[in-house]
Amino acid sequence: MSTLYEQLGGAAAVDKAVDIFYRKMLSDARVSQYFEDVDMDRQAAKQKAFLTMVLGGPNHYTGRDMRTAHAHLVKRGLTDLHVDAVIENLGTTLKELGATDDQISQVAAVANSVRSDVLGR
């Protein structure tokens, strides 16, 4: 069975998804504070790696990466509420790209699997 990454159209689709997802994050008052003073191109590259991972595409993401990458945000008060916001924005992004509710649930499950790492638990 092909991955959602392949079904949506591979790397080109992820590029499109990153733009949509990143816009949602910047416009979401729950999480936008964490994107102030951030280099946008580097942030987009990180989001591309994240989206590739949760969609089942070729990636080298590990739980340890997620832990290290978010440690400074945990110090700034990152909690489950923020992770929920990310997963919600991820779902609406995929919906816009034509994913089914089933597929979105599967992606949310993958994203949830790194929740403890992200929050440093």
């Binding site: 590029d15 990153v18 733009d19 990143y22 816009r23 910047l26 416009s27 946008m40 191109d41 987009a44």
Partner: protein, 326 residues
């Protein structure tokens, strides 16, 4: 603490201390400018031990693979041997002439003495023989792919600025210098020739835009090209006649100005250029090139992105100034 040997001299780098500070504190001469990881002036090369990856952000792959990294970002955790001799990266050049083209802007024409492949709009580092180094955007479009031939930069004359003071004082012509680079991806690439281009810059952020515009026209770009120049007051505008002439020759080029202060007239709008452009609802299609003041660039980049422009179609170059001498 890490022990760093720099061209044979041992320097101790305390935990949490930046390598650049440790080196200059120990009397090692390292060219530097922005001290914030943007201008790439303080490139050093690891000759033994691994270059700190976090200090290689934004470098071309070729430089990373050779072990180059930025001393201003590096907090080495392990012992290293490095060299600050960037000679293999530099091209000898000569300052050909300097002309005042604005109230506080001079145009410097530089002649590389070897191949210096570059694109108009990229930036390069100008290094004086005493090691003083500053990054400048290239305002000219190369005549040939090898980049031999005169290239031009626009230099804002800063009060107390060591490089700009020297360049504008009239004694610099004929001097031998070194060029390093070029770097940056704020340049025109010939694709989608009918696409609208939005070019917006403040101060000498006009320099790369001037190059990008002519590069696009030379490549046969047919879409509308809108050039917006922002300045604090109307005194800050320069190249006005040249840009007007260009827009007469190439009717698809629209040239507009925006001043932060002062009374507007038909030609000059008043306000913050980023807010002005975002408020009028910039078209979501096309490509944007944004150069100059870092706050301006960041604000407009974010705004255009939120308005629907894909990130890869926004080319931005924030000019991070050198800290004032002191």
């Amino acid at each position: 603490m890490a022990n760093v040997v720099c061209d044979g001299k041992a320097v101790a780098v305390e935990r949490g201390q930046r390598l650049l500070d440790a080196l200059t504190g120990a009397g090692v001469r390292v060219p530097s400018s922005c001290r914030a990881g943007a201008c790439q002036t303080c490139l050093v090369k690891a000759t033994r031990g691994a270059a700190p990856a976090a200090a290689q952000v934004g470098l071309k792959e070729g430089l990373r693979l050779q072990g180059y990294f930025l001393a201003c970002l590096a907090e080495p955790a392990e012992d290293l041997e490095i060299t600050v001799d960037g000679g293999e990266l530099s091209v000898p050049a000569r300052i050909d002439r300097v002309d005042r083209i604005g109230v506080d802007v001079v145009r410097v024409r530089v002649l590389p003495e070897r191949c210096f492949p570059h694109r108009g709009g990229q930036w390069m580092t100008l290094i004086r023989d005493d090691g003083l180094a500053r990054p400048y955007s290239i305002a000219s479009v190369p005549e040939s792919p090898d980049g031999i031939g005169p290239l031009e930069i626009h230099v804002r004359v800063v009060r107390g600025g060591r490089m700009s003071g020297w360049l504008s004082a009239g004694e610099a012509s004929g001097t031998a210098v070194q060029l390093r680079g070029p770097a940056g991806d704020c340049f025109y690439t010939p694709r989608d020739l009918g696409q609208p281009l939005l070019l917006a810059g403040t101060g000498t952020g006009l320099a790369p835009l001037w190059a990008i515009t002519r590069d696009a026209l030379r490549a046969g770009h047919t879409g509308p090209i809108e050039i917006w120049h922002g300045a604090r007051t109307a005194d800050g505008f320069y190249l006005v006649d040249e840009l007007r002439a260009l827009s007469r020759r190439a009717p698809q080029v629209v040239y507009r100005r925006c001043a932060l202060e002062g009374g507007g007239d038909g030609e000059v709008s008043v306000g913050r250029l980023d807010q002005f452009l975002l408020a009028r609802g910039a078209a979501a299609g096309g490509r944007a090139f944004l150069c100059g003041d870092p706050t301006f660039v960041a604000s407009l980049k974010r705004g255009l992105f939120l308005a629907g422009l894909p990130l890869r179609d926004i080319h931005a170059d924030a000019f991070v100034s050198a800290p004032p001498p002191g």
